[in-house]
Amino acid sequence: MVTSDDIRTILGSNEALAPVAQQIAEDDSLFDRGLDSFGSVQLMLALEERFGIEFPDEFLTRRSFSTIRAIRETVSAVLQSVAA
């Protein structure tokens, strides 16, 4: 199970997002909040580490990491494919 708060905690370690991480709503665009490509790499690595998964290349798109909801769905999809 991945919760939005798990993801907010991880977002809190990004420089641009740290000050606002707790106020980011499910569908707010993280890119509009200042997340850049390096920030999203760090975010992907942190998620891979936290959930013990590896995102395949086709998941490494902007959209997969654009909002808290999208991240939750991306992580869940990978977790499910691992379990299946």
Binding site: E15, A16, A18, P19, F31, D32, R33, G34, L35, D36, S37, F38, G39, V41, M44, L45, E48, E54, F55, P56, D57, L60, T61, R62, R63
Partner: protein, 387 residues
């Protein structure tokens, strides 16, 4: 030749005529820029509803390489202008102020400059010290802009800054500043080895009481990823290709001259010419492949913002900049002293000095370090005709 190529050739002919003087005197390529305006090439990318021609980067790249063969300085000025215009076109359409600005750029052929580099930060595009201070619908900005090419000659400057005084270094915006709205105090003089005519002096830039509507609505992180990275690397590389291409032309003319003098024999330098023409072809292929990939993903924000695409563009920049230097050096080795001397039909001093800026313009090691970070998550397995 199509109409655009002819317009580019006419402007390049003017640029070529003044290229040595521009370099020697370290002055702005005023005649070439006047010719570009007369050919209405500064509005090339502006959408047609704003009186431009709605051209894509492919067409702009062709003009960059044509100019690069004549005068590196004029070519780089043109490239930098269109890199900024690319961001306006990609991100300014939902802002009435920026739409009006695009119309002015096309109609009045305004020249746009860029201020990202800041004292103490160098080429880290994605970090600013300076910050926009906004209150009651107006803002002020002070920036120690350590390099602004043609800052004095530009009609407007697009500058990066932090969104507000408490924002993180990477939480940036891009603001459009018209020349008559700002004070520029020169803080350093651009007296360099090459690219002398870009007049990339350092300035203290001050803007006060300007409407906040001039701040582009998209975060700069998005602008950089979605338009600026691609436009910069594709257009810079096209300029460097033009410089390298002209150098190989001189080497070819030299070898052919030798061959004519000694009928029935292949001059020993012909082997080196074969070698350098091979490298030139590889450079051209790298740029064309990147332009095609850019066109394939155009309008697809996900694909442009993907890790694979950013890696591809970074690789283009480091590869093209190194190959261009290598090609001009090899051309010089073929031509020998006639290339080393100024004022001969084979002189290669100016293009060599100019092209040496390529690996420094956003340092290649800085770019490789960025690519290294991106590769931490990329999984690979790309195919010949895709990734």
């Amino acid at each position: 030749m199509n109409a655009l190529a002819q317009r580019a050739q006419r402007a390049a002919a003017v640029a070529a005529q003044h290229a040595d003087a521009v370099d020697r005197e370290g002055r702005f390529p005023a005649e070439a820029v006047a010719a570009l305006k007369a050919e209405r090439l500064l509005g090339l990318q502006i959408p047609s509803q704003f009186e431009g021609e709605g051209a894509g980067l492919r067409q702009v790249a062709v003009v960059c390489s044509t100019l690069g063969q004549a005068c590196s300085n004029a070519a780089m000025v043109f490239a930098m202008h269109h890199i900024k215009v690319a961001s306006l076109v990609a991100h300014g359409l939902d802002s009435a102020w920026h739409c009006q600005l695009m119309e002015r750029i096309a109609r009045e052929q305004l020249l746009v400059a860029s201020s990202t580099t800041e004292a103490g930060i160098g080429g880290d595009l994605r970090t600013s010290f300076c910050a926009v201070e906004a209150e009651d619908g107006v803002f002020s900005l002070g920036k120690d802009a350590s390099v602004i090419s043609y800052g004095r000659q530009a009609d407007l400057i697009l500058a990066t800054a932090r969104r507000h005084p408490d924002a993180a270094g990477s939480d940036q915006v891009l603001v459009a500043l018209l020349a008559d709205q700002i004070f520029l105090e020169r803080t350093s003089v651009w007296d360099t080895l090459g690219m002398r005519g870009t007049c990339s002096d350092g300035f203290r830039l001050e803007a006060r009481g300007l409407p906040v509507a001039q701040i582009l609505p998209k975060p700069f992180a998005e602008i950089a990823a979605q338009s600026m990275l691609a436009a910069s690397h594709l257009l810079w590389s096209s300029v460097w290709f033009g410089i390298a291409n002209a150098a190989v032309d001189r080497a070819r003319a030299f070898v052919q001259g030798e061959a004519r003098r000694q009928p029935g024999q292949v001059p020993p330098t012909a082997l080196r010419l074969a070698e350098v023409s091979n490298t030139l072809q590889a450079l051209r292929s790298a740029i064309v492949a990147a332009l095609v990939r850019y066109e394939d993903v155009q309008g697809d924000a996900d694909a442009i913002g993907s890790i694979g695409f950013a890696v591809m563009l970074n690789n283009l920049k480091t590869t093209a900049s190194e190959m261009a230097v290598d090609i001009v050096q090899r051309a010089l080795a073929i031509v020998g002293l006639a290339g080393y001397k100024n004022g001969t039909p084979f002189s290669l001093g100016r293009p060599l000095r100019d092209v040496l800026s390529a690996p420094l313009m956003i340092g290649n090691d800085r770019i490789l370090a960025n690519t290294a970070k991106l590769l931490l998550v990329q999984k690979g397995g790309g195919q010949l005709m895709s990734a």
